[in-house]
Subunit: 450 residues, 4 copies
């Protein structure tokens, strides 16, 4: 992870995070361990939880717990345990919460926002949150946690909010939530959108998934990808990476899309764009990458071929209708091995293979993205956390969502080139003037798409 | 060109351009002919010139001249003739200039801005422009033209400026100039940056060049690309398209870059990033795509292998040091066929093959981009021109540079899907709400990179 | 063409073809010109015709006619002219025919065999050939030619046969005919099957077509291949090359096959295998590569989309039912440009675009294979001709079909490596013994498939 | 494994192997388990061992041992144990050995041949084999085993030979040995070369490795392949598959080759051909695929970058100089996880990562080839065993090496098409006659290369 190593070398001696408490909610893998160690090496105190019940690598968690930070994460948490872990990671004792949050999907941020909302309601009306008020199982747990917390301390999340300098968010889903909160005026602290750094969204999402999708498929099922028909739902960066990997492995890839621009991109790469209904009964492999919900529903799964493989590499497990599947009368779940289940429908005796219970299959069935690509993402995180912390008193960041300035994005890229033997060309001052950029960058306008 | 046909069907009956004079400066090819006919079908009067001395397809120019517009363009213009044509296309007679400009590279826009500047100088100081004041041959011609014009009418370009509603610009180079003028406060009228519509920059630049680079190479030289070493200077959209085409044809592709982010993208696709100096004496094919100047210089060319092929697919011919080559003492130019010249150095008796005299090789040696991709670009042009014209009195557009709103960009894509048999998925209202977009789009935030 | 140049350097001084008359029937292109010059440089006298009515490059024919050999070939021969040219190329005057034949498709060989057969019939029964005895137009011309010839000299083809040392055959179709003649015991002289040298079949057929199929498509139609659906009939070496080229250009490729092994290969590359009937009405581009006949019939063409492109890159034009198309009542042929015709059906007013009148589209619409790959093929030809001539008295070659020994095949490859900067590894004697091959090769058993 | 299932359906009822004893020496994986069960389902008695000390999947071995056959194999055998297992699998008790052998690499066949040789020597001279007569550790064990066996029964291998109907051999290395024995006249029984069925060599070797090489790399090291420089030693079918997989994953691939034809093929795919010495100190990943020995030697490994990955996917572990590495003074072996070792050199403190101790990395670090491709290979095995057994009394097979007739090869392919949704085209009788093949195949001449 050359970018993180370079950060330690450059910033470590000055201990810029001296006095900062950082809470992270992000897959507790060996790559994340290097991120945590880097934050610690720069002076921070760190508490950590995972943002997915299956993605923790227990040996990584153990090593970090021993050496660098308080860790609340293990592979195979229940949902109840998951939210308990999140709450633990935010709890820095009587003095309140963290100064900074590293979030992935926005669950830590959500918990604080919901906590503050409930406390405000309570202050106004005396009502405590009612878990029965929602049918969403996961949200019931969030409300339950807050309810318990309010019994002890009805201003806990308020104090947390007061202390917070900001959050840096890792992924599309969390960023979407942040922009919604910004739009509705409910965002409680500044946020840096790390996901939309080029060196994140175009590397982690695209090249990371190009690597880890086939890795997960092969480890979970040993299926030969060549010759198979694969459906990729969504052709954003994740979908592009997945489609590319499947295509070059010899699959026939079909894309589903709502956005005509992304659809036209798929077509230009030789991929037909159809609806899920068109292909549900003839394809062998289904991958959801949309970041949306309700993509592959129970009725789709019932129409699939025997032993069709269904998996999700988008952020949440609600892309696949797991609840519909689990509650279908008479369905049988046969665990082939951990994270690889065959679900057999009673009427047809035909079954489908679901990976990682519909959660991120690359983390559940393999080891997630490789270190090199995570180094790009996490170097952005370190730089974002530094930026928030260094500017905590300057007023530079309001309660809004920001992306990192382009010169920092370019810096992240530059830190990763030497490892791959690359040699950049230098602009002459004359050339720089001709295209109207500084000799040392940034080289592109903000709207540039790469 | 399904997008242009759809525009005629949708807008033609209302004749929205009734009364509008449009001057275009854009490669006079058969695809452009369809654009011109579309503008005319929507009610406009049109005058046209090419933006490149080699890119005119004479049969296309002739057909347009006969049926639809005044055309000043032929294949193989001299530079003098080129600027004469540009000035003719802007000259709508005593009443002044055009209402709208379709520009490609910004030469029509440049001429007006330089004309206005010179007229202002003259009004203040009585000085007329002096072509001898610059060593740039082409700029000498521009100043000469303006000088002649001022003898007849010292306020001609002022009147032109007054009438002008705006310009829509086609390509990176022209857009760069526009942003520079905006930054320096010298932009004289509103401009729409068509180049940065996704359906332009990510289609024309990327997929267009992926098609037309090998087409130009094969038509000009019949070279077998497989097995050769090719150097692509620049890994922007054009460079990405060229590199992809060369790689899949079996070449070993080496990229040169100044931008660490683009460099890292090249590496992720398996392309080494080196400097031109590293590879100049061992590669077989050199392609410039930078939009910058002084990329392949005389000294580079003298070090190349015998019969190395040198070509440019960036906007201007100054990416290759043609002036240095032409003026090298004793150099011999042997024309193998039109647009394909072998330049032999006297000292080594070794020669290189330069395509299209350093100008756009895909237009000089082949027929440019295929109609399908140009339909995307030109549908953006039509929509941009409509937008400028419809809003000419609303004050919506100031003297700034704008990109088209995303829903129009998505519309351009949608118009091209049926031809390729694609079927889009529809968002449910529930899903749309979940990801916080309208059911009918736009589906992505402005900063989305595709 | 590095292999041919190397042959001249190695063999030229000894003039091994001194006294040999060589007749060639092979596309008269600039690459063939270098082959002819090489044969001449090694001492041969040469007469030449083309083996395809459209494939002659007139400037190449003219240059050869001026400097090196008697040439009977021009672009756009009628069938009648074609066979006249073939007969002229075989006519070395009173002394009889050639010593050696370079054949492509076997037409020169066919003419001699039919001539001998007719002369034998005449000697036995006094019957002369009757062109009316067949409905095959082309075969009528062959019989007509022989009939005329017999009036002058009823033993002409017998004398030709007597003199002939052998033939080296270039392509699959001709080779098939030779093996049929060998099987039926009617082969009149030794034949070397150049087509099945690895450096021919796996290079010319595969890499040559991968280059020249898109070249022909783009020059003829400027069609954007990306996004289109292309059907490739046949997945032999030619079909593999065509499919690869179309796929990487962004087309969705569908393969038709009769052979389950080749079909399974296509599937492993991600290409669906279907029948022509399955896809005839939805595809955009159709390419025949089978070497068989009656692949795309009139009824197929009538079901195609408007402006579907139909072309053949297999040896003969009977892969496409041109006769059915030409004779369909009311069909209109609109020549867009030479070798690119739109055929409009009267009932639907819908039309298809047929390239090169169903003949080899890469030669009819572009310039055939690039020199590098033809250098591989033609170096095999030179070496085969040398082998036949050198062994003409040794009895090594009987009236059978032979392939070149593997060490000569490897030699052809080796002659082409330096140009591409390759550096071979050398076996140690110990390693050579371990895998039981000579240190200098041949390195593979005869059955090795590469 | 559709081919094996189809065999059971077609042949099972007739019990053609009734009375046949089959010994197999072939990686004891779950795919092999299906092969064993198929042989048993057709009536055979079966004993089995693995042909590689690391490739056994213990759960597969256990299941077979319980249900279908005697199994002598476990993951992580010592060499001593390996040869003991081989000898056990050949020992069918007092009545002698097996009727048929399924061999992979030829170790079972070797043991019998060496046994017979030693027994003959003993009969002639009274000498027993002397393990000290060789420095090859593995051959010492073979001789040791035979020596022990001779003490008990000096004609044991003779009786084994007498009973043996024949062997079907799975892989290149074993086939090479068989041809050497045929050439030297020492082959003791008929052999069918299954490796050179098209549906084996072109599927297992090529597509199997294209799947399992990256699988093994990712499971063992989680390395990001994109951006790395990979060296593939050997460009036969295995090397082609590995190179293709690495290239499409974004690596820069360099090939080393001894054979100019294969070298030229690599170049045509855009892969530079260099020597190992040229690149040893700059590459990140090294893969041996040659089937030869002494490819990556100690001196190479000492020059590699820190943490370079070295692995072998050719048959034997002697492609990498493991002995040199293990015995280098002061070298430290750090086991990162089973089958993934870091070897640190004492002088530089730099280390390389060696997978599977130099043995087949796809079997040692992953699960070998996927079932679909193994179904092709193993259906060939079943058909070969049937052929040998059915013809055991007909004299059809002499003590020579045979390949399966092409119609059986095509049958294997055809059995795998329905699973992938393919639809073959049928030849018309007229077309079949035109290309001179039967309507139902075989469709290609023996020398066809696919």
């Amino acid at each position: 992870m050359p970018g993180l190593m370079a950060c330690r070398a450059e910033f470590g001696p000055a201990q810029p995070f001296k006095g900062a408490r950082i809470t992270g909610s992000l897959h507790m893998t060996i790559q994340t361990a290097v991120l945590i160690e880097t934050l610690a090496a720069l002076g921070a105190e760190v508490r950590w939880c995972s943002c997915n019940i299956f993605s923790t690598q227990d040996h990584a968690a153990a090593a970090i717990a021993r050496d660098s930070a308080a860790v609340f994460a293990w592979k195979g948490e229940t949902l109840q345990e998951y939210w308990w872990c999140t709450e633990r990671a935010l709890d820095w004792g009587p003095g309140g919460g963290p100064d900074l949050i590293v979030d992935d999907g926005g669950d830590a941020t959500l918990l604080i926002h919901e906590g503050v909302k409930a406390e405000e309601e309570f202050a106004k009306t005396g009502k405590v949150p009612d878990p029965e008020s929602t049918t969403n199982l996961e949200f019931q747990m969030v409300l339950g946690l807050i309810k318990e917390s309010m019994k002890v301390d009805p201003l806990r999340y308020h104090r947390m909010k007061e202390r917070l300098v900001g959050v840096s968010e890792e992924t599309t889903t969390g960023v979407k939530r942040l922009y919604q909160m910004q739009a509705s005026g409910t965002l409680l602290f500044p946020a840096i959108n790390v996901n939309d750094s080029v060196t994140k969204s175009k590397f982690d999402n695209l090249y990371g998934c190009r690597h880890s999708l086939p890795d997960g498929l092969m480890r979970a099922t040993d299926v030969m990808i060549a010759g198979k028909v694969a459906v990729v739902c969504g052709y954003g960066d994740v979908g592009k990476g997945c489609s590319a990997a499947l295509k070059v492995a010899g699959a026939r890839v079909i894309v589903t899309e709502i956005d005509p621009i992304c659809a036209l991109q798929a077509l230009m790469e030789g991929l037909p764009v159809l609806t899920l209904e068109d292909v549900v009964s003839t394809a062998d492999i289904f991958v959801t990458t949309t970041g949306n919900k309700d993509i592959i529903m129970l009725d789709h799964m019932r129409k699939m071929k025997n032993n069709a493989i269904v998996c999700n590499i988008g952020h949440f497990d609600n892309e696949i209708d797991m609840q519909g599947l689990e509650t279908f009368p008479g369905v049988k779940k046969i665990t082939i091995k951990p994270q690889t289940d065959r679900w057999v429908f009673p009427d047809t005796n035909s079954g489908i293979i679901v990976l990682a219970e519909g959660r991120l299959m690359n983390l559940g069935c393999a080891t997630g993205h490789p270190s090199f690509v995570m180094s790009c993402s996490f170097t952005n995180q370190v730089i974002a956390q530094l930026e928030l912390w260094n500017e905590r008193k300057s007023g530079k960041y309001e309660k809004k969502v920001y992306v990192l300035p382009k010169h920092l994005d370019e810096k992240v890229a530059a830190l990763h080139l030497p490892k791959l033997g690359a040699r950049l060309t230098k602009l002459s001052p004359d050339q720089a003037e001709y295209i109207n950029v500084p000799v040392d960058g940034p080289y592109k306008p903000a709207h540039y798409r790469y």
